[in-house]
């Protein structure tokens, strides 16, 4: 077993453990902090995949923006749910069965998966980021999907501001 495999197993164990804590811990604030650990673990998995650019994007967007947004939302909606009441709904056993069943099906499907090995070891990751940038700005490549994604983001953020805006004078 090589060093990369040992690192992978450790990172995967930390990631999955913190993911379990995200869905099971009682206090939402603690769940958000465990979510940050999970996102960081996924970023390390990206590094092991030699997509360093996406590891940086993961830290910037997921931890820097999304996790902070979630923490803001938790702080703005505090003291709604007492921490003594159960945090899971009545159908959680069915949810556990569905998730476990899906996991078993996927694991059985991957058992026969051909054991492909990484062939691009040693490729410079910076070249991948440069290729991605060129493809995203190439009119014959992915310039239009990229622009559509940016319009989606702008529309979503403007819509969020409108939805979450506090209207003066109360009422609906």
């Amino acid at each position: 077993m090589s060093a990369a495999q040992v690192i992978f197993i450790l990172v995967a164990a930390v990631t999955l453990f913190s993911a379990v804590m995200v869905v099971s811990v009682r206090r939402m604030m603690h769940a958000a902090l465990w979510l940050i650990v999970t996102l960081l673990g996924v970023a390390v998995l990206f590094v092991l995949l030699q997509v360093g650019f996406f590891a940086v994007v993961q830290v910037l967007i997921y931890i820097g923006a999304i996790a902070i947004l979630i923490i803001f939302a938790i702080m703005l909606t505090r003291q709604v749910m007492s921490e003594n009441v159960p945090q899971l709904n009545r159908g959680w056993v069915a949810g556990l069965a569905a998730a476990g069943g899906l996991m078993v099906i996927l694991a059985l499907a991957f058992r026969d998966f051909p054991n492909v090995m990484d062939t691009r070891m040693g490729d410079p990751a910076a070249a991948d980021a440069a290729r991605l940038g060129l493809a995203l700005s190439d009119p014959n490549g992915f310039a239009i999907p990229f622009e559509v994604a940016s319009i989606l983001l702008v529309a979503a953020l403007i819509g969020t501001i409108y939805i979450a805006l506090e209207r003066k004078g109360g009422g609906q």
Binding site: A4, Y62, N89, G91, D123
Partner: protein
């Protein structure tokens, strides 16, 4: 060397944990966190397949980048809706947000 199936298994486990969170959490913000876990699992799969099988093309990276943008938009809209619902109804529990009238 790390086999591709290891990444697929970790991503599958992460997806299933997120699915459990979506199905079982009462709090709407908890459900959103489950969705984040599922989107992360999808991104691991996309980048693992790209890195192992199609690294001479650039499609997988573009797809993963657009998943990031869609995830950011989804979280922003979701949390805006949570704040708006909390302000009007005073709750963030999914079971209690069961009417479509304002």
């Amino acid at each position: 060397m790390i086999p591709l199936s290891w990444y697929l298994l970790v991503a599958a486990a992460l997806f299933c944990i997120g699915l459990f969170g979506v199905l079982a959490r009462k709090n709407v913000i908890g459900i959103l966190m489950g969705i984040e876990l599922m989107l992360n699992a999808v991104n691991i799969n996309l980048l693992a397949f790209w890195s192992y099988l199609y690294s001479e093309q650039v499609n997988g990276l573009v797809f993963a980048a657009i998943v990031f943008a869609a995830a950011a938009a989804e979280t922003a809209v979701g949390l805006g809706l949570v704040l708006s619902a909390y302000r009007r109804r005073g709750t963030v529990i999914a079971d209690e947000l069961d009417t479509m009238k304002g």
